[in-house]
């Protein structure tokens, strides 16, 4: 199939910063009066979330939309799924569209699982008869058969997500648009969903648009990619190339700075930075953190903790040192910085935390930073995740 499923031409979306379009009447009158008498246009500052976008997406392809935060990925998806209206430009879509910007839209806690399946399914655009047909499959897939007639308010949050996912996974539109909904739910179930989606697309030749930060998932699922930067398309083509371009643009951008980390008793961590937010396998990663105490406060332990997406601790970067003891005993602030060379972790998402022991505070402080590790595409399909273990050795070999 090489028909065009989605064609976009000169699409733009403008927002106004520092100007709320909703508010009270008084506010609105004041603005109007200001406009008339002072001939000033308020404090409107236009911001182009998307600017003059042109692209065509072929039917039956899976396209990943990637880009940094604020690049316009979600806005594009919202426009194409008709949730918001473009400021100018035009697009055409051939086929029945479903969009998944979150799972469980419209779920009501007073209603039972069964009722919510019908409600949510209808909201997502399924016909009533269609839901009836698929009902058993949906419930089986979710694995909560026993609770299907219990009000959802008695479910655990995990169960709600599973049920909501199951409904979503059974959508059969010709065109599916997905925002990072796969970021929730337990890992096991996530994989099941990805598998299901993979299966369905390949069989039925659906067109999928997939917005994600998870480069591993994007590379695995998608055939094509679009890289957005500041509301414009920077690259469009084979997913491998697009991800590579994205990474190249990422390298010089430091991981966004975290706000202050409070360790307790007034001890604060500032400017905890990792040099990258995504990095190719065996790349070098620099880190630094400044710690401030209200009084002189000796640190006996300090370590970086590294967790994988299953919340297993993968490693510890030990930062205990004579200098740490000395420096923290003398001064109220000190900075630790360093570099991990050739990170040998398998592709995926990792979370960084800190372990701290000092006179004033102690404990584990988790989920402070996120790091994505990506593997450039190779000739061979990588082994399935469960067989891959934890580390990827930096290995050279020859066959003779």
């Amino acid at each position: 199939m090489s028909e065009i499923a989605i064609s976009v031409s000169h699409l733009s979306k403008k927002f106004f910063i520092g100007n709320h379009q909703s508010g009270d009447l008084r506010e609105s009158f004041r603005r109007k009066i200001n406009q008339v008498f002072k001939n000033e246009k308020g404090k409107k500052e236009p911001f182009w979330a998307l600017r003059d976008l042109n692209c065509e997406i072929k039917a039956g392809t899976i396209t990943g939309i990637i880009g940094r935060n604020g690049a316009g990925k979600s806005t594009l998806l919202k426009i194409l799924s008709r949730i918001t209206y473009p400021t100018s430009g035009k697009f055409e879509i051939e086929g029945r569209v479903s969009s998944l910007l979150e799972v469980g839209t419209g779920f009501h806690s007073e209603l039972t699982g069964r009722e919510n399946v019908f409600l949510n399914g209808t909201i997502l655009g399924m016909r009533r008869t269609e839901i009836k047909e698929k009902f058993d499959a949906i419930v089986n897939f979710s694995g909560i058969e026993n609770f299907i007639d219990t009000p959802v308010k008695h479910y655990s949050s995990g169960m709600v997500v599973r049920l909501a996912f199951s409904v979503a996974a059974h959508l059969e539109p010709e065109i599916l648009m997905i925002d990072e909904v796969l970021a929730v739910g337990d890992a096991e179930f996530q994989k099941k969903c990805l598998g299901k989606m993979d299966e369905v697309t390949k069989q039925e030749g659906r067109t999928i648009l997939f917005v994600s930060h998870n480069m591993a998932a994007v590379e695995h699922l998608c055939t094509g990619g679009i890289l957005l930067e500041k509301g414009q398309i920077r690259a469009h083509g084979d997913i491998g190339d697009v991800v590579e371009k994205y990474l190249a643009s990422e390298t010089d951008a430091p991981n966004d700075k975290t706000k202050e980390i409070s360790f307790g008793n007034g001890v604060i961590g500032r400017n905890f930075t990792l040099s990258h937010s995504s990095i190719a396998i065996h790349g070098d990663l620099s880190y630094s953190i400044t710690i401030e105490s209200p009084a002189v406060n000796q640190f006996t332990d300090l370590a970086l903790l590294v967790y994988n997406h299953l919340n297993e601790r993968i490693g510890v970067v030990d930062l205990r040192h004579q200098d740490l003891l000395r420096r923290s005993a003398l001064s109220r602030t000190f900075t630790v910085s360093g570099k991990i060379r050739g990170l040998p972790l398998i592709p995926g998402t990792y979370l960084f935390g800190l372990y701290v022991v000092s006179f004033l505070c102690r404990g584990d402080f988790l989920n402070l930073k996120r790091l994505e590790i990506i593997k450039p595409k190779t000739e061979f399909v990588p082994y399935a995740e469960k067989h891959r273990g934890y580390v990827e050795f930096d290995n050279t070999f020859s066959i003779s």
């Binding site: 909703s22 609105s28 008709r82 086929g95 969009s99 910007l101 209603l111 997502l124 655009g125």
Partner: protein
């Protein structure tokens, strides 16, 4: 194959009723959800639907029936007042529900597309529960007081339809306005309260016509519910004649409903951006 074309450069504007019809499943399930949730809140939810009009009725009967001695044309006062309240309670409930419906559904609006009009429209169905309860109370009173039901009763569906349209018309206006200006959220309860007295519920419309100058009567009947309440009473009890001025109200219903839908359609596109 379905085809979607969105072109922001063309200022085309259509009501797109065909699309609205294609989303009828969603309309039904949203209405059903509201009904179901209202029932799920057990007995008290329904009891409230009885207690509220009952208390108002008792107060009206004491104040207007006993103290003021309103001329009801020979109809026992409680029957007279309740007949007006049936229409008004439905109106107040639906206007309030659909007026707040878009703000209440903002999470959904930000996450998925569907014709937004479905949301306020679906609220007309929930009000039917309360309407049925109110009618039941009315017929109990009619039996107790031995009042005979008029032949005009066959016109009741027509007035009921007008009541649905006017409550939705007001609700759609309020729902669209209240996303832009939150103040309108506070206006609804006020409207319901003022309207209870500004509509000929506790007293007959003739009182207004004979006691006020023409221009004031005209203003009075700009209230769409004024004519509808009279219509209900005329249909059920055969009381009074339908005054010619009532047609002002009926015209207002048409205006309110159609302009409401047009305005809603106009701001619909902005909703996800400004809620």
């Amino acid at each position: 194959m379905e085809k979607i074309v969105v072109d922001a450069n063309k200022g085309s504007f259509s009501l797109n009723l065909k699309e609205l019809y294609s989303y009828r499943d969603l309309f039904l399930i949203m209405a059903w959800r509201d009904l179901r949730v209202r029932y799920a809140q057990t007995f008290l939810g329904l009891a409230w639907a009885v207690i509220q009009p009952l208390i108002t009725l008792v107060i009206f009967t004491i104040v207007f029936g006993r103290f003021v001695k309103v001329d009801t044309g020979g109809i026992p006062y409680p029957v007279f007042a309740l007949c007006g309240m049936v229409a008004w309670t439905y109106f107040g409930f639906v206007m309030n529900q659909s007026g707040n419906s878009i703000i209440g559904a903002q999470e959904m609006i930000k996450k998925i597309y569907f014709p937004r009009l479905i949301i306020p429209l679906s609220k007309a169905v929930v009000g039917l529960v309360d309407l049925c309860i109110a009618f039941l109370m009315l017929f109990v009173l009619i039996i107790i007081y031995g009042v005979s039901i008029s032949h005009n009763i066959f016109f009741l569906p027509f007035f009921f339809l007008l009541a649905v349209m006017s409550s939705l018309g007001a609700g759609i206006w309020l729902s669209a306005l209240s996303i832009r200006y939150r103040d309108f959220q506070h206006i609804t309860p006020f409207l319901v309260q003022v309207g209870l007295y500004a509509t000929p519920i506790a007293y007959p419309g003739e009182t207004v016509i004979s006691n006020l100058p023409d221009w004031a009567v005209f203003l009075f009947y700009l209230n769409p519910m004024a004519g509808i309440v009279e219509g209900f009473r005329w249909a059920v009890l055969g009381q009074g004649n339908l005054n010619a001025v009532s047609y002002i109200s009926f015209a207002m219903v048409a205006i309110l409903f159609s302009t409401g839908i047009f305005y809603f359609r106009k701001v619909e596109r902005l909703m996800a951006d400004i809620v």
